[in-house]
Subunit: 447 residues, 2 copies
C-alpha cells in the first residue's frame, strides 16, 4: 500500500558545521537551523548539521539548548582539525583569536562564514588572500547591516554598475540614541544611559557611538563596491558623542535630520586617477540628512543603505542591523551558499590581491555645511561673521539668527552652498582668531 509521504528526502550528504561562539547569534543560528530545517532542505537539497560548538565555559547555563547533533568543546582544534567538519562559522568576535581560528580552519580545508566586521576590516587582506590560496569560500553577509543583504547586493546584483555614492546608517545603537534624542527631546547623555539600560548600548559604548563599528563596516562595503583595499587607519571617523539636542532641533527647522552616516563617493576628477584605481572620499561622521531622503526616516535600531549607481540609479535598503535572528538569518544564507558550493570570488573581484584605494584628503571633501555659531549680541557682529565667510569664499544658502539666550549670547545658524571642508575649517579658525565666537562652533556636513 503506497503511503502518502509528505517529507522531503535529502538527496545529498549534510553540510557539517563547526560553530565557534554560542552567544546571541550562535544560539539564534542553532534555533533557525532546527526550526527551518524543511525549508533548508527544499532550498539546497541538503541538511545543515552543527557538529561542534566552541565555547569559553563548558558549564555556563544557556538560554537556548544545544542542537542534538552537537557537542560543546573549549578546544578550537576540535573544530578546525575535525575532517568531518565542512564549514566553520566564526562568531567569537575580536581580532587575534578569530584570525588564528579562521586561518587554521582555512589551512585544513574548511569554508568560513563569519560576522566579524572588525577582523575583515583590519585583517581582511591577509584572510582573503589565504582563502584564495586554499580555494575556500569565505562569506560574511552578517558582518554589515544585519538582515539587509548588502554584501550579496554589492557582490552580485550591482556588479555591472559603477557606484557613485554609498551612504549608510550602519550602527543601530547610534541611530537609536539620535532617534530618542529627537523624539523625546533628550540630551545625549540621557539618551545614552537609556540605551544602556535597555541593552541597546554596551556598558563601554565607545565602539558604537564613536563610529568605529560603522567604520569597520564601511571598509567592507568599500571593498565590495570598488574592489580596493582602504586602510582602516586612513579612514576619518567622528561619532555622535556630545551631539547637542539644540542642533537636532535646528536641523529640523532646515528640513533635515541628524544621522551618523558612513559614506563613500568615487571622485570623478580625472586628474586623480592612478591607473584606473578608484579615488575615494570615505568617512564616518554625523551629518544633516535632508528629510526628502528615505534615510532621514530611518529610526530606532534599524540600519539602512542608500546607493547611487550608474545603471541602477537610486537604491535604498532598510532592515534590522542587529539582533539574534536577523543576524543568524544572514549567517544561514551564507551557509546555504556553502552548501550549494557556490564559489564566487570572496571579495566580489577576480583579482587575488586588491589594489589600495586612492584617497581624497578630508580637507578637499565638498558638501553643503551646517554651522552653529555662538556670538556676543553687539552691533556689527553679523557684518564681521559675514566678512569672514566672504574672505574664505563661502556662500551662505540660508541663515537664522535666534534670539538672545539671556546671557547676551546669540546663536547664528548657517547653511552654506557647496564648499570644501578645508574652507569651512579655515573660516571657523578665522572667526576664532578674531574672537568672534563665545563658544566653539558646531559644524556638520549636509547630505
Amino acid at each position: 500500500m503506497a503511503s502518502e509521504s509528505t517529507s522531503i528526502p535529502s538527496v545529498a550528504a549534510p553540510l557539517v558545521v563547526g560553530l565557534a561562539g554560542f552567544g546571541t547569534i550562535g544560539s539564534g543560528l542553532a534555533r533557525l537551523v532546527a526550526e527551518n530545517n524543511d525549508m533548508i532542505r527544499r532550498r539546497v537539497g541538503r541538511d545543515i548539521v552543527i557538529k561542534r560548538v566552541l565555547v569559553r565555559d563548558m558549564h555556563k547555563a544557556r538560554a537556548v539548548a544545544l542542537p542534538d547533533t552537537a557537542q560543546l568543546t573549549i578546544n578550537a582544534t576540535d573544530l578546525t582539525d575535525d575532517p568531518e567538519i565542512d564549514a566553520l562559522v566564526e562568531l567569537i568576535g575580536g581580532i587575534d583569536n578569530a584570525r588564528a581560528l579562521i586561518e587554521r580552519a582555512l589551512e585544513r580545508g574548511k569554508h568560513i562564514v563569519t560576522a566579524n566586521k572588525a577582523l575583515l576590516a583590519e585583517e581582511g587582506t591577509a584572510l582573503f588572500l589565504k582563502a584564495a590560496q586554499t580555494g575556500r569560500i569565505l562569506r560574511y553577509e552578517a558582518s554589515v547591516a544585519g538582515a539587509i543583504p548588502i554584501v550579496q547586493t554589492l557582490k552580485e546584483s550591482l556588479n555591472g554598475n559603477r557606484i557613485a555614492t554609498l551612504m549608510g546608517i550602519l550602527n543601530g545603537t547610534s541611530n537609536y540614541i539620535l532617534s530618542e534624542m529627537a523624539a523625546n527631546s533628550l540630551d545625549f547623555e540621557v539618551a545614552l544611559r537609556q540605551a544602556q539600560e535597555l541593552g541597546y548600548a554596551e556598558a563601554d559604548p565607545t565602539l558604537d557611538i564613536d563610529g568605529h563599528d560603522a567604520a569597520h563596516k564601511l571598509i567592507l562595503l568599500i571593498r565590495l563596491a570598488y574592489g580596493v583595499h582602504y586602510p582602516y587607519v586612513a579612514l576619518p571617523i567622528r561619532g555622535i558623542r556630545g551631539i547637542s539636542y539644540k542642533d537636532i532641533v535646528l536641523a529640523k527647522e532646515f528640513g533635515c535630520t541628524i544621522k551618523l552616516i558612513a559614506q563613500v563617493r568615487e571622485c570623478t576628477d580625472e586628474s586623480r586617477g592612478r591607473g584606473g584605481v578608484p579615488c575615494l572620499e570615505a568617512g564616518v561622521f554625523p551629518a544633516l540628512v535632508r528629510d526628502s531622503y528615505l534615510l532621514a526616516a530611518v529610526s530606532g535600531v534599524y540600519n539602512a543603505v542608500r546607493i547611487e549607481a550608474d545603471a541602477a540609479g537610486l537604491l535604498f535598503f532598510h532592515g534590522r542591523g542587529a539582533g539574534a535572528l536577523p543576524t543568524a538569518g544572514a549567517v544561514l544564507s551564507d551557509l546555504l551558499a556553502v552548501a550549494r558550493n557556490e564559489r564566487q570570488n570572496n571579495t566580489g573581484f577576480s583579482d587575488t590581491e586588491l589594489p589600495q584605494a586612492g584617497i581624497v584628503p578630508p580637507r578637499e571633501w565638498r558638501s553643503c555645511c551646517y554651522a552653529r555659531l555662538t556670538v556676543r549680541d553687539r552691533p556689527g557682529v553679523l557684518r564681521d561673521i559675514a566678512g569672514c565667510m566672504a574672505a574664505d569664499g563661502i556662500s551662505v544658502a540660508r541663515m537664522q539668527q535666534k534670539s538672545d539666550d539671556g546671557r547676551g549670547l546669540v546663536p547664528l545658524v548657517f547653511m552654506t552652498h557647496e564648499t570644501s571642508a578645508g574652507a569651512m575649517d579655515n573660516v571657523l579658525r578665522r572667526m576664532e582668531d578674531a574672537n568672534l565666537l563665545s563658544e566653539p562652533a558646531v559644524c556638520y556636513r549636509v547630505l
Copy 2:
C-alpha cells in the same frame, strides 16, 4: 623597457551573447557592457561579447549604435543555433515567440537571461523544467522591480527564512498616476492622460493600470519566496482604474496613502496545511497603506518591496522599477552570474517540479477595511447603517460623517477593525438591499 600597463588582462575566454531585442533595455545593455567593460573584467575575469542581435527590422534607425562585435539578424536561429553563443538574452517580450526562442536555445545548450515576467508567470513551470532537464542557467532578475535585486534576495539572501508577508509596489505606471493624483489633486483620467503624454503609460494602459503587470511579477515572487506554483488565472487582480481623488484625500485624513499593492501572506492556520505545502493569500489590489510604512512614501515611478520574515524581521527595498539602464543593469548582473558559471537552482529550490500553492479564497482574507458610503441625509440613516454593520459582526474603528454635498447626499467614511472580505461584501450587499446607498459603496483593504 618595462611599460607601466594599467589594463587588466582577461584571463578566460569571453562570454558570447546573443541578444534578442534591441529596444530600450537591449540598447541599454549594449551601452553598459561597453562603458563598464573594465569593471566587468575585474569582477568576473572575462569579457562579455554581444555577437548577434535579433531585431524585427534590419533597416530601422537606432538611437544607440550596435556594438562593434555584433551583427544584426532577423532570424532567431542565428542566435539559438550558433555554437559560439553561450547565452541568450531574451528581451523581445510577449509569450509565444519568446517561449519558442528560449526553448530552442535551451535545447541547444544556451544559458538564458530574460526580463519577461508575463512568460515566466504564465509558462514558467514548463520553462524551468526544460532548463533543469538541459542543465542550463535561467535567470530573470530584471523581470521584477527593475533595479531592486529582489529575485536574488529571495533566492539567496532570505533562503533560510520563512516569509510571513511580502507586499510590493511593482508597477511604476500605476504608482506614478496615484502619486500625481495625490500631489496635484487630479482625477484618475487626467493623471492617466498626463502619464501617457510623458511616456510613463502606454497608449493601451490596460496591462499596467488594471494590475496585470504587477500580478505577473507577484507570481514570480511567490515562486521565489515559497517554492510553489501559483496559477496566474487563480490570482485575484484589481487595478487602479477609476480610483477617485476623493478617496485619496479621505485616506490621508485617516493617516493612509492609497497604493496599488501586490501582496502575498502565508496562512498560518494549521488546518489548511496540505502536506507542508504553503497555503497563500495572494492578490493585486489598491489598498490604504498606513503612512508609518515606508511603502506609503514611495512616489512616482519607483518600485518597492516590503518583506516580513521570521529571522530577518522587517525588510524594505526601494528603487527604479523600469527604464533602460536600471533594467539593463539587472540583466547584466545575471549575465555576470552566467559568466561565473554560477549554477544555483533557477527557482531557488532544489525540487525540479514545484508543488501548486494552497490558496486562501478571497472571501476569507482578513484585514481592516476602509469603506465610503453615500447615503441620503435623513434621520435614522446612521442607525440603519450601524445596524447592518452589527448584523454582519463588523466592528467600526473610526468613522467620519462629512457634510451634505448640496444634493442631500452625505458621505459616511468608515475604518473597520479586522474583518473578512466576505463579511464586508455581505454588509455592503445588505445595505444595498435595504436601499440605504445612493451610490455604489467604495471599499479598500487597509494594510
